[in-house]
Each structure stands twice: as structure tokens, then as C-alpha cells.
Symmetry: C2
Subunit: 337 residues, 2 copies
């Protein structure tokens, strides 16, 4: 049963289990340091589809299908899919998941979507509203570039603060039973806006939200950063993650070597041209559903805080002079045996 | 506690209560048959803002603030906001609700958003994951036209099958206690796609989804349409609601005079130029949060099925030749005393 703990956190006393998970990625992500952890690397990032948007849908379909297979579960056993993405009207999810016949609640949390969907899946299972839920998200570099910035053909310059939208999808199946990784607590964040309006510096816009959410969780649970094997943010990148460390320090929480960022883990910045690091819903999703969950399954990591971060702007809001509201959601994952 | 009933339905045994609700609308909606039921009619649909998108944000802010006031609740007492809209990256919600400091889970269900957010709010409260939740959504004719079709300045012709996106927002506060309207059951729908690709005939694209969801609910609960005072779909309009009747008949459920559609209720088609009826997230939201909930509060309606419907396409998916996937979510509302 979900129980409220402190002001912002919900403890899931039944500890719903991750029954299956999968990450599928594009060529560049496959060439990164986590390459061998992914279930599938698509050398051809069109996935044989005619458009980038359809390719992103295919990524989601692939991740969900593989997660189901690994869990030994059929689509008809899944009560709800929680899914979302960065494309206008979430078409990567809608068209990618259309064929499964599973009740769908579309989610929008920008790049925080993996944590938001996982939190919802866990709460639904823990409460008895569902037996089995899926949490699914994706992003695609080429679809995101032409929607948020410029079509690739334009050959636009990218400033050093900019991040690289991951071509990747992740899917998690949540239910009860088995001795897999469990979701112990969830902290849903509120919007934090420090007035940053540089859409090429999203890490800085999201760092304050990540700090608010982690701070809320640590206060609610009475724990400290060094109680965890790994604290990992979604896609703050090089600049955002340094800012995040500073902001946590101001809140009197020192982050040690156990802190990392999915945007820094997905690529090797010294040999891959990604500027400040990775981003996109698929960034934290694919790092969670490959490296993190496999290290937890093997018991190398036992106690992890996964904090996915989102920048809730659109090209329209930026053109109208608005700043970039940030948000971050946290899932506390544990492996007990 | 939420309990699963049949294949698709969740019964909320604690029966969460609607503690407050509010609908605010634009001039045209205020001139319609439900004019006197709205909390506020904005004669100036810019709401004093510089852009249509900011005006839509202001509508959400206004609806949420009024719903809180009517419930006698402060924002700090609200554990979660579930909110969404039709604009790219849901900016009406993000910017409209940014200032409240309430944890936010952004939702995307196109025009089904009012039912989706209400279902989530009710499940969270019933499960103990939250004490108080808010469900909020909006649409704005001028913002929707320029995003989905043409800027108003273009003066495009609208075919008779087209619907009029409502300039409206609705907000509901859900918690326990009091003798208000209660949410008894929830049925979340799956995507239904009959291959319709005419974006000027969304009612036809959504009708099959509404029929699937109502059919699932009736089978799960062993009830029949005439067990309810009112069965109301979201925004099928004149064409979609006739189709919906036919599809239900093929499923051996005859809908009587107790069936209506929010898109048909919001405007007077004989004197207001809305072609096939109203649409948009704000359409079903504003009809629910004015006429329906006030008739339930007074006891004139006691047993209502609210089925909001969504068309999950984007201009990009339509340009790429895709059909329009439909979805519909149902909330069973009761007033017992």
C-alpha cells in the first residue's frame, strides 16, 4: 500500500518489483561506454521506417516488446501502459504502442518521463489498481532536432553547453513477485524555474529542480546521500550536474563519488561529439534499463536513487520569451538479495 | 482502496469525493446554453495576455484557483496536480500551473484529458498515495487553430464535419470527506484506430474508442445504459455521437435519451457557428465542471458516466499519412444523498 512519508514522498510498502526491462538504442549510443549493456543497437537509426518520428515509434515498440519477453508477460496481462515522449502530442508513444490493445495513460514530463512513468506504474501496482503496468519512453536525435531546433539538413552549429538528444527507448514492466529490483519510494517534483531561458543550456535549467526533489526526498526519509550506492540524475550533462552538486551543497548535502548523471554516462565525451552530454527522454531511460538495472540485478548496486529531470518548455514558449521551467521525479530502487 | 473489477475497470471502494470544481470559459462558450453555469466568462479571450498560449495558461490558473477556493483548500495542501492540454509540450499546463509549487505529473490524453486526470486523482486518493489531488485541463480556440490548422488571420474555410475547439478550462479537487459527488469507478481505455484520417472529422475517429470503453465498463460492472441518469461523451459532436450510438447498438447496448455529448451541450448549433459541435480538452472539462457537477451536487443527477474522448494525432503524423488513433477514458460519478 502506498503511504505518505513526509511532505513529498510516498513509500510503497508492498515494494513492487521490476519484472522485466529493456533498452534499445541507436548507433552512436551503441558506440558509447554502455554499448554492451543494451538489448539492441540499431546501426540504421531509421529502423527501416520512412520518417524519424516513425523510427522513434519503432524504438518504443521494440523496447516494450523486449521488456515483455524478458518478463515472460504478454500484452494482454498488462493493465496499463504509462508512456510519453518529447514529440508534439506524444506521437512516438501513441503510434509506437497503438497495436498492443493495452489501456494507455499518456504522460508528459519531458526528459523526466522515465521516472514519472515508473513512479505511476509502481504506485498503481502497490495500490491494487493494477496487477501489472508498463513504463515506456523514448527520444530520437533526428526527430528532436527538427522539432526543437533545426532540421539536420540545415547544418546548424551547436554551442558547447548544448546536449545531444539520445536515440534510445527504455521500457520497464512492474508487478509483484520474484526477487528482482524493487521500487521502495517515490518523490514527485514540483516545477522549479530560476529564469534560465537559454534553450542550449537545459542542464542549468533542470539542475534546480533536481536539487529540490532530492532535498525533499532526503528530508522526508531522514537519509543522507552516502546512504546510497548510486544517486543518478537524468540528463543534466556536464554543466547541469556541476550546478546540481553546488545546489545540494547549499542545502548542506555533500554529493560524493556515488553521484553520476545518465547524460554523462551514455557517451564518452572525449571521443564522441556530444558537447555537454546526453539528453532526451531516452537518455535516462536507456541508462536505467541497461547499466543501472543490470548492476542492480547482479547485486553490484543495491540502493539507488534515480532522478530523471525535465525541461518543460516548447519552441513556442521560448519564442514568446518565456524561461525554462524544470521538473524532476525520483524513484528509490532497492535490491535486497 | 482501488480494486480491479473485470478486465478493464477499477472500483474505488473508498469513493473519493469531489471537494471543489470550477469551469471558466471564453465569450462564445458563455453565450451558449450552459452560460449561467460557468464560474467566469471572459469576454476578452486574450485574458489580458500577449499571446493565445499565455491566455490558455491563464485559463488553467483561473480554473484551478477557483476550484481551490470553492473547496476551501490551499495549494500547499494539494499533493499532486494531474494536468495536460493540447499544446505542444503541454505548455498551457506547465506555465499556467508553474507558480503553485505543487508536485505535477503532466498528462497527455488529447481531449480525453479531463477523464484521465480525474481518474488518476481519484485512484491516488483512494489508494492513500495522496490526501488531495487536482485534475486540470484547458483548450483555447485561437491557440489550437494556429497549432493544428491555420492561424486565424488566414481565414481558412471549415468543413461541416469540423468541430470548434472550446476556449475553456476545468479543474476538480479530489479528496475524502463531505457529501459531494463521488468517483465510484474508473475505466481507462486503449487505443482504437479504425483508419480514419480526416482531421476535420475527429468525432468519427474517436467514436469507436468511446464505444470500446463504455462496452468494457458495462461488461465489467454488469450494468446497462439505462441504469444511469446520464451517459455523456467528451466531444464526439453531431457526427461522432450518432456513430457512437450505432456502434453501441452493434454491441447490443441501446442508448436512450439519457445519452448526450459535451460537444453538443456546450454550444447552440442553431445559432452559434460551430459546425459539428465543440471539441478540445476544455470542452468536456468545462461541461463537467459546470452543468454536470452542479446538477449532481443538487441531486438532480445521481448516477453519471463521464467518458472523455481523445484523438491522438499531431499535424506531423497526419502529414506523414497516418490515421487518427482514438482513446476514451470513463469515470463513474455518483451522488448518494
Amino acid at each position: 500500500m502506498p503511504e505518505r512519508k513526509g511532505q513529498y514522498t510516498v513509500t510503497l510498502s508492498g515494494r513492487p518489483t521490476i519484472l522485466g526491462y529493456s533498452a534499445v538504442v541507436g548507433k552512436k549510443e551503441g558506440e558509447g561506454p554502455l554499448g554492451r549493456y543494451f538489448d539492441m543497437v540499431f546501426e540504421d537509426t531509421t529502423l527501416g521506417e520512412k520518417t524519424w518520428e516513425k523510427a522513434e515509434s519503432a524504438l518504443q515498440r521494440e523496447a516494450f516488446t523486449r521488456a515483455l519477453n524478458k518478463a515472460g508477460i504478454s500484452p494482454s496481462q498488462v493493465n496499463y501502459m504509462f508512456a510519453g515522449d518529447l514529440l508534439n502530442q506524444s506521437i512516438a508513444s501513441t503510434f509506437g504502442l497503438r497495436e498492443f490493445g493495452v489501456p494507455l495513460m499518456g504522460q508528459f514530463g519531458a526528459c523526466s518521463t522515465m521516472a514519472q512513468t515508473l513512479a505511476l506504474a509502481a504506485i498503481f501496482v502497490d495500490s491494487g489498481a493494477a496487477d501489472i503496468c508498463a513504463a515506456i519512453t523514448s527520444s530520437h536525435f533526428c526527430a528532436a532536432e527538427r522539432q526543437f531546433r533545426f532540421p539536420l539538413e540545415y547544418g546548424g552549429q551547436r554551442p558547447p553547453t548544448s546536449q545531444w538528444t539520445a536515440t534510445a527507448a527504455g521500457a520497464v514492466i512492474v508487478g509483484f513477485g520474484g526477487n528482482g529490483v524493487k521500487i521502495a519510494d517515490v518523490t514527485v517534483g514540483y516545477i522549479t524555474d530560476f529564469g534560465i531561458n537559454d534553450t542550449n543550456n537545459m542542464g542549468a535549467a533542470m539542475a534546480p529542480a533536481a536539487a529540490e526533489t532530492l532535498n525533499a526526498y532526503l528530508i522526508d526519509t531522514g537519509t543522507r546521500p552516502d546512504d546510497y550506492d548510486l544517486i543518478v540524475t537524468g540528463d543534466l550533462g556536464a554543466i547541469g550536474s556541476e550546478l546540481f552538486r553546488e545546489l545540494m551543497e547549499r542545502k548542506s548535502f555533500q554529493l560524493g563519488a556515488n553521484y553520476s548523471d545518465c547524460g554523462m554516462m551514455l557517451y564518452d565525451r572525449s571521443r564522441q561529439d556530444v558537447h555537454a552530454g546526453g539528453s532526451g527522454c531516452g537518455c535516462s531511460a536507456s541508462v536505467l534499463c541497461s547499466y543501472i538495472l543490470s548492476k542492480m540485478t547482479s547485486g553490484e548496486l543495491k540502493n539507488v536513487l534515480f532522478i530523471a529531470t525535465g525541461a518543460l518548455m516548447s519552441p513556442t514558449s521560448s519564442q514568446q520569451g518565456e524561461s525554462i521551467p524544470g521538473i524532476a521525479h525520483l524513484c528509490h530502487l532497492v535490491k535486497t538479495e
